[in-house]
Symmetry: C2
Subunit: 96 residues, 2 copies
DNA sequence: TTATTATGGTTTATAAAATAAACTACTTTA
DNA sequence: TAAAGTAGTTTATTTTATAAACCATAATAA
């Protein structure tokens, strides 16, 4: 009946990050921070976890002398997200 | 943009419990345990939290000499669930 | 009739997660 | 050149989730 929810995605912040990335395909650290209202520290930790899971890629470079961190969703990440959406729908539409 | 997800419902087990209760209006502890595959300890803790939040009511009685714990959703619980569903939909349908 | 196992839980301890606070490194501005 | 700002990371603390241990009673078996 009710399947497991991918614990990596069942976290408000990580779900928001992935949701944003699925939409735009690429985003800066600062953009994600603004959009999610997360603290930098929390965001830093969570994108690392998503990277370790292979759900996103992180590229570090410099822009106008400042460090810049770019995040992109991977195909693995997209699949995991789609799967998560499917599974959680069963929790959201209880059968009468 | 992305609203907060009610932390009381953004928990796999508590969400499953509430989802089940919204469907049936009343359920036994053992039924919830079976349906969710939770351990009794975890289930016991989580229904207490839902009760403290006013999302469910817990009634304890005896049935065939054995203790029996019945859980029912409250109107507060139904509203919280509906609100949660609305909010999380925004995470699940990323805007292109 | 007294161990033994089963039922239906609760309480306590441990592991894992999320979050915040502190820190690093460098840049810009006053 | 000191202070403040940018863009993060690391570490510490708090909160959650989970598991393990426990409790009380009932049914069953020896």
């Amino acid at each position: 009946m009710l399947k497991e929810l991918d614990p990596l995605l069942h976290s408000q912040l990580r779900l928001a990050i992935v949701s944003l990335l699925v939409g735009v395909k690429e985003a800066e650290f600062t953009y994600l921070k603004e959009q999610t209202n997360a603290t930098a520290g929390n965001l830093s930790v969570q994108i690392q976890k998503l990277k370790e899971a292979g759900y996103i890629e992180i590229e570090k470079k410099f822009k106008d002398n400042y460090p810049q961190t770019i995040c992109k969703i991977t195909t693995t990440g997209i699949k995991a997200f789609e799967q998560y959406v499917e599974v959680i729908q069963n929790y959201l539409k209880p059968k009468k």
